[in-house]
Symmetry: C3
Subunit: 293 residues, 3 copies
């Protein structure tokens, strides 16, 4: 063990810390933590009992990783649960991630993010600054949440979904109640800034929700919905880039930055997947019906 | 005094700390703080001069309690004022509460909450993650603010109000100006996600404001208002649960989780109150006129 | 050097710290930092390599000033760049400001603010609690952003602009893409709560955008635009104060708190500027055409 820790750290003797791990100043590493090789925990950060952080990760300053559940309403006790974060995570400063979640590899957050318990998050997901993941939800692979997105409990977000700032996925049809119904966002859907999605709504694969839309009914695949209440006004495949007149949707055929098809294009990548690989993604049979309008 | 403090703490000799208080690592407890019996102050938290925190409370990590006023615009000085927080508070990590407010018992916050000075907050209030209470406002008993709610100065929120994420109560009719007029939300009103309430508007008892509504005029009791600008479209008493067809409003007759009538129902609880108890709540004469439509 | 530092601080020997500087507890001051005379760095705050903070400033507790760039997506390295903050700054607790920006004098932030790299911010700017400045943008003199404002990359905000809570300046016309186009907000414009401004839109001088507006087209000077999608409905010069019937816009003729014309009024101040002074501001030829409608 070759830990390089700064000043004023409090590191439990039961923490298992890999090779070439760096720890900043004033850090608190509690019991039974496991930190993979080559990971950097920056100053003032607290890693609570039962957390596993994969190798080659970076956890910024002032974070709380593995925050305990505070069920004070009923029993006024702390509860510790495991939290697993995969390899090569980049968790930016000021973020709070609860115990009791599973998060894949190449995870990335902005600053001051909150992720509560029972969040099941895939690989290569990215959650922007100030986003508030309420827990008890599923977020797929390569999902990109921009800043200040609010994901209510019971939400299901499939792979390759983009959600822009100040979007809210709600869950209570008759507030206040205890009868929550989550939103389901299907693969490749795009939800623009400030949209609010009402409880139980399904956003179809490749659909586009306009900025500020209040979405009260499910939106079929490829449809564009805008307004309050949101109405379907078009098909994404009719949208052209205003500068060059080229089609821009379905976006997977026109955009690939950081996507697994970055070097080859979506169709070549998709056809190259074997059945086991396809099972890792939530994808419809996208190639059989080519995207003609 | 049986204080159990972690490492690297800086605790003033004039702080009065009760029995069985636990203090984490790296905490700063300034002069003249009073901490009640059995309270837990978690690591990295700062409690500033003049703060009282009641017994059996929990203050999460990375909080600043009693933040001083920084009137730097004019005089570039700090000012310390008392801050009183009642018993059994649960203040989650990363929250900042200013000096100069009074907060009742059983207070609860999410993470990264900001509460500025001159906030008068009742008992059993709950303020969600990232909410921003601008101070100089009144928040009643059993008020529930969900995540990321913005309460402008001069707002008045009566008892048993529910406000959902990204709602803003504004206060400037002709921005920018110094002529603020607050919003008044009456008891049992519900404001759904993303609604903006314009200055001086009154939201009547038991009314329901729809998601994304921009409310420019006062809404009478029991009315449902939606849209931009918001219009009254219905009466809450006509709304049925879509699953079982049962009425759901007024919600106090159908929902009781964590409410004082949890075991007996609203009407029995309300009739059992004596006059002194009724004075603690902002309630109209709710029983005389039964909720027929 | 007369540094007054609290307990458990880690201060680099290469940091240059002015006269009468106060540093709280648990602070980390990294290499090559310069802190001007009379400045106060509060507890738990990190000032990273290469930061300059001007004299007579205040940096609240739990801040990270000069946060390094984490280009982990590509090269998994930290990069340090200079950050210059002028004199008399007031940076409230919990804020994170990246390396690689230039910020003028009399800068002010609320709490938990995030400012990313390549932000060019003038003098006397104020950025409210929880606002999220995405970097690579320009913010002029005397700009006031209220709480929870999101400024996308490539935004340009001229002098004396007011932006209210939960406003978003967007930048991607066909999300997701790499073809960003910023919003340009001209001097004296006012954007009310919850408005979303679409990519490439220009908001004309002295215009007023209503609460919750979704602005898809540019708005001419002095016009009032509201709704989703926003439409021009009036001229600001027709708006009267509801209480006293007086005109309230252009606001520079009716409001002066903290403005440079506070004691003399806008026109006297403006006429008194010489050519060099005028160059400091982004102002049209405001006096030649008096504000008749």
């Amino acid at each position: 063990m070759t830990t390089d820790a700064g000043q004023n750290c409090v590191v439990s003797k039961t923490a298992r810390i890999g090779e070439n791990v760096r720890i900043g100043h004033n850090c608190i590493i509690e019991d039974d933590v496991f930190i993979g090789d080559g990971t950097f925990i920056d100053s003032n950060t607290i890693v609570r009992s039962g957390v596993t952080i994969g190798s080659e990760s970076f956890v910024g300053a002032n974070c709380i990783i593995g925050e305990y559940w505070m069920d004070f309403c009923r029993d006024r006790k702390h509860h510790s649960h495991p939290l697993n974060i995969g390899a090569k995570a980049l968790i930016r400063s000021g973020s709070i991630i609860y115990a009791g979640s599973d998060i894949g590899d190449n995870f990335q957050t902005g600053h001051q993010v909150t992720i509560r318990e029972k969040a099941n998050i895939g690989n290569n997901a990215s959650i922007g600054t100030l986003s508030d993941i309420q827990g008890n939800c599923k977020i797929g692979n390569y999902v990109r949440l921009h800043s200040n997105v609010h994901i209510g409990q019971l939400s299901v977000i499939d792979d390759f979904v983009w959600i822009f700032p100040y979007v809210v996925l709600t869950n209570d049809p008759t507030p206040p109640s205890d009868n929550f119904v989550g939103v389901h966002v299907h693969s490749f859907a795009i939800v623009a800034t400030g949209a609010v999605i009402m409880p139980g709504v399904e956003l179809g694969q490749d659909c586009l929700i306009g900025a500020g839309a209040i979405v009260t009914k499910s939106v079929p695949p490829y449809m564009v919905a805008v307004g309050n209440p949101a109405k379907v006004i078009s098909d994404v495949r009719k949208i052209k880039n205003k500068v060059n007149g080229e089609p821009v949707y379905p976006w997977r055929e026109h955009f690939s930055t950081y996507m697994p098809w970055e070097s080859v294009g979506f169709e070549v990548w998709y056809r190259s997947l074997d059945l086991d690989e396809k099972k890792q993604y939530t994808l419809s049979d996208l190639i059989a019906e080519p995207s003609v309008c």
